[in-house]
Assembly symmetry: C2
Homo-oligomer: 600 residues x 2
């Protein structure tokens, strides 16, 4: 039995100043965690109990799905990550260090390399496969902006599992088994989730899905359609419209368009001075060329121009996902100064990509070939655009893709908007925000090839193994649980992850009250119920009530004034329901309620 | 049930080349661990099961002793360790790193600072105390010589607990409670141990004891006496003999002693040319002055001379413990070249310590005052010595402590020998080797003072809290268990830490054998027994036997030829006892044996 008089906890009445989201605020106020450094947290006894329950559920389902638990170090040598390129690719997100002998080490952000090498060490035949192994382990990422407490930390616990198969069908099977296990885990945890298509990012690989928990404080935006399409906004693809007949396109013509540095001013001027015969010009008729500066993980900076229809913003998150592992930002004044042929506000395809290279256009510094040019998938052959003519106050009209210009390729860089058609035709998209709580990948052979993980197949031939990688943010899940299960008074844990089931409280100063409360708490404990007993003798009922609400046990049992008439108060923290029950029946009633909740 | 056909393990027939101790060799061969980097290991499924059982026993006893579990990060900011000086004191043993913003971080070797700050954050009154909190957590030390697998690693798991008390009596009580818990833990683990007095080393503090597990492969030497005195050799104190009357001492006289660079040659020459009237000279009459180079954690190098009776070697381990946190090594040729007044082989007190300073003796480089001089506690006032006269081929006789020379202090730097009298008079010492598996400290107020941890006492006055610190090497305990519980065939785990209780083996090719073995394995599992079933169809009985012996389950159940006559073979791995038992009674018999072992 936990006793409030000795439990290592202190609750805070005031919100901590630097905690902007509810879960962070409440986990700090209720004494579940403390900050040790930015994005690095200490777990106090109550927090650790929640964490242990979450971990136990994750382990049970991993084991039930045939996973075998292993445990890798957090401190790893550089070599395997050098082979796969991730030593560099992770850029400043990787904590790197040097040992006393000058050896390079890292604090692992994820363990694909090590799992691959371990299987290579132990296994050698198709008969050994399929194999799924996992760990629950500390991960490290030197986030640029650690935020929201446990939601985005720099030291955090992940469950990561990895599957190893001889062929693609095997990988698909292993992937589905993990996917089902994830569904069971999140359901047992009481965590709302949606499964969305995802970008693979720095992991590589062919197919991946995220488990997002919907919440306004989430960093991820995702979309869903009435027909069931769901995707992280980073992964939404834009279907290319059918190409148009170039023969139908009028000739391009350059016009004076003074003082039109923005799309809105350009559209107004076009309608005023160069009206279309059939309808008004709109922003969607314009082609906006956005100059980006990419920084590679090795720190090399280069420019890229992305063309998007003028009625849409370039979406930096989508661009960064598409252009990973580069860091993407808008070009700055120095970039423009170094490239005087980029006329800000009037940039056109003429100085970009293939046509610029064909024409021998050099960049301003004359040190490089033309800037690469990628366009939104909507910009297909035969489409006609109003866009910059590469001179101050000049635009070109009817510039036709495939006739007047081409690009180096397409990129998913335009914003996705509510109402956009789902790529699979399943209806208009709506947007929502969520936190990534799980991510499952079909890695394929990327790591096995890099690290030469082969086994003998049934014909005695060496074949490369195909892999899946499956992660759950365990410490993050605790924060998301708190985010979903709280009210203005405090936390309200689902019973399967609560640090204890029942908060028994003695109110008043009467010894009989304390004796009765103690007896009830002991009786409940004997019945297998996890109890916190607030036994503090000199603390007011008001403070005890506030603490019980803040700490968030699913059930609260108040022993106080009612005792004279033989009753105690039994409350449900989440619903607020409350009932006076006979003290003689209290242990049975509470234990039954707890058992039913746990069974449900 | 674990099945050998799918268990993620591969046994090795050959000893790994770089594994010099049995535990390391067998844990690798049996597929319990794999090396990821020097001193850094990966845990495979069987190893992790043993580790989890050890951790569970540690946690149960910590909880039973009133400890509350918390969990600190491994990655910590520099500041608290700067305040206590340990950022520097740890020297090259600390893994240090810098984050993307240039902040200094470390991988914590131990968490005194963080625990102190956490209690300061939460607690403020004597009423909150006593408190004992603990964690089971990854620690990091950049060992100069990681060795012997898990015995001395660079990433390893420790249980560390910390007690907080208002006064010394409280600390003593908390210390004894932890001490008792440690005894229970090691007994439950089946780990032989001795409790010895210890040096506190870099921890600071007043009193400490180590739990050493006796083994030849241990790095620690300890002593014990028939009367019950036990101590790490580093902590053995030398009682000072009574002072002698200086008036009795003959005058000192310098003699030619050509070609006597060693104690043995000196004693021979003294007996030949300058015989004592009462008895022969012995090495114990000579005073050997050993020149040491100390390197401080900040990297500063300085010389120190230690005087020990000539019949004993200077013990570098004891000296390093006494002079912590400095690193100690013998002075090198460059040191002697820089100090020409140190005549190698003929160094006497005249050029050292107080008398050198009084005489204005400068060091060779003329840049410093005289070299400090510490002596063995046996060198008390009135004792007379044959020692160097600071000139090649010259020694001084009857040099009398307190009349002819003094030292800057005493130091425990002479070797301890079997047969030495215990400092408490409890008889002659014997020496043995062991591995440190636990260390308990009365830290006192060192950390609380440095980090200003105070609480209000009963009179409303701020008082500094006093602390204890208590560690168990959890991963190391696994290695020590393997070290103590193996034979030439493999591991032989005590049942409480075994990865599984029974190894069921189907031998032969007969389907009936496999069916019977499967049924027995299932029956045992249903009876609550942890089973590994070797179900591999095409593996020879010889290989299966060898694997079962190597893997080390406490019990082995062989299903094979005896089946025709209705029996199976039931073996005890550790004792080698074996019995044919009726197959119909096997589940009951084995389950009973397992239950009895677990209960015992």
């Amino acid at each position: 039995m936990l006793r409030m008089s000795t439990l290592f906890v202190r609750t805070l009445r005031e919100d901590p100043v630097d905690a902007e989201v509810a879960s962070h605020r409440l986990l700090l106020r209720a004494g579940y965690i403390r900050r040790a450094a930015p994005g690095i947290y200490t777990w106090l006894p109550l927090g650790l109990k929640v964490l242990a329950k979450v971990e136990a559920i994750v382990r049970e389902e991993m084991d039930a799905a045939g996973g075998q638990e292993v445990h890798f170090p957090a401190l790893l040598p550089r070599e395997p990550y050098e082979v796969t390129g991730r030593w560099t690719e992770y850029g400043p997100n990787l904590f790197r260090l040097t040992d006393r002998k000058g050896g390079d080490y890292l604090l692992a952000p994820t363990h694909e390399e090590m799992f691959t090498l371990l299987v290579k060490d132990l296994y050698s035949s198709y008969k050994d496969l399929p194999l799924t192994i996992y760990q629950v382990q500390n991960k490290y990422r030197d986030e640029a902006r650690p935020r929201a407490g446990l939601l985005r930390g720099r030291e955090f616990i992940m469950k990561d599992s990895y599957s190893f198969d001889i062929d693609d069908e095997g990988l698909e099977r292993s992937y589905q088994i993990q996917r089902e296990a994830y569904i069971r885990i999140f359901e047992r945890l009481g965590l709302e989730y949606v499964i969305v298509q995802a970008q693979s990012g720095a992991m590589g690989g062919s197919k991946s899905e995220e488990f997002l928990s919907p919440t306004e404080v989430g960093e991820d935006t995702y979309v869903r359609s009435p027909g069931g399409y769901t995707a992280n906004v980073e992964a939404v693809t834009t279907p290319a419209p059918p190409a148009l007949d170039i023969a139908d396109a009028p000739a391009a013509h350059v016009e004076d368009t003074p003082d039109t540095p923005t799309i809105a001013t350009l559209v107004d001027l076009a309608n005023a001075r160069h009206p279309r015969p059939d309808r008004e010009w709109t922003a969607a008729d314009t082609l906006k060329n956005v100059v980006l500066a990419l920084t590679s993980p090795a720190g090399e900076r280069s420019l890229l121009v992305v063309g998007v229809p003028g009625d849409r913003e370039a979406d930096m998150t989508r661009l960064e996902a598409a252009l990973a592992p580069a860091v993407v930002e808008p070009a700055n004044d120095a970039d423009f100064a170094a490239h005087p042929h980029l006329v800000k506000g009037y940039i056109g395809p003429g100085v970009l990509g293939p046509q610029a290279r064909a024409a021998g256009v050099k960049r301003g510094d004359d040190s490089d070939t033309a800037i690469p040019y990628l366009v939104d998938p909507r910009i297909v052959e035969g489409t006609r655009w109003v866009t910059g003519a590469d001179a101050e106050g000049r635009h070109v009209f009817e510039l036709t893709m495939g006739r007047d210009f081409v690009a180096d390729g397409t990129v998913e860089g335009a914003e996705v908007r509510a109402g956009d058609e789902a790529p699979d035709g399943s209806g208009p998209l709506e947007l929502a925000r969520g936190v990534e709580i799980g991510h499952i990948f079909q890695l394929g052979r990327k790591y096995a090839e890099a690290l030469d993980l082969k086994v003998l197949d049934v014909n005695g031939k060496q074949v490369t193994v195909t892999m899946g990688s499956y992660g759950i943010g365990v410490t993050r899940a605790v924060a998301v649980l708190a985010e979903h299960h709280h009210d203005e008074l405090g936390l309200a844990w689902p019973i399967h992850v609560a640090p204890y089931h029942v908060h028994v409280m003695a109110t008043g100063k009467d010894d009989a009250v304390f004796a009765a409360a103690e007896e009830l708490a002991s009786g409940l404990e004997a019945a297998g119920v996890e109890v916190l007993y607030d036994d503090r003798p000199k603390v007011s009922p008001g403070v005890k009530f506030k603490d019980s609400e803040l700490l968030g046990a699913p059930y609260i049992l108040v022993v106080g004034r009612g005792l004279e008439s033989g009753t105690v108060e039994f409350k449900n923290r989440a619903t607020g329901d409350s009932a006076e029950i006979p003290v003689a029946e209290a242990v049975t009633a509470v234990a039954t309620a707890v058992r039913e909740s746990l069974g449900g």
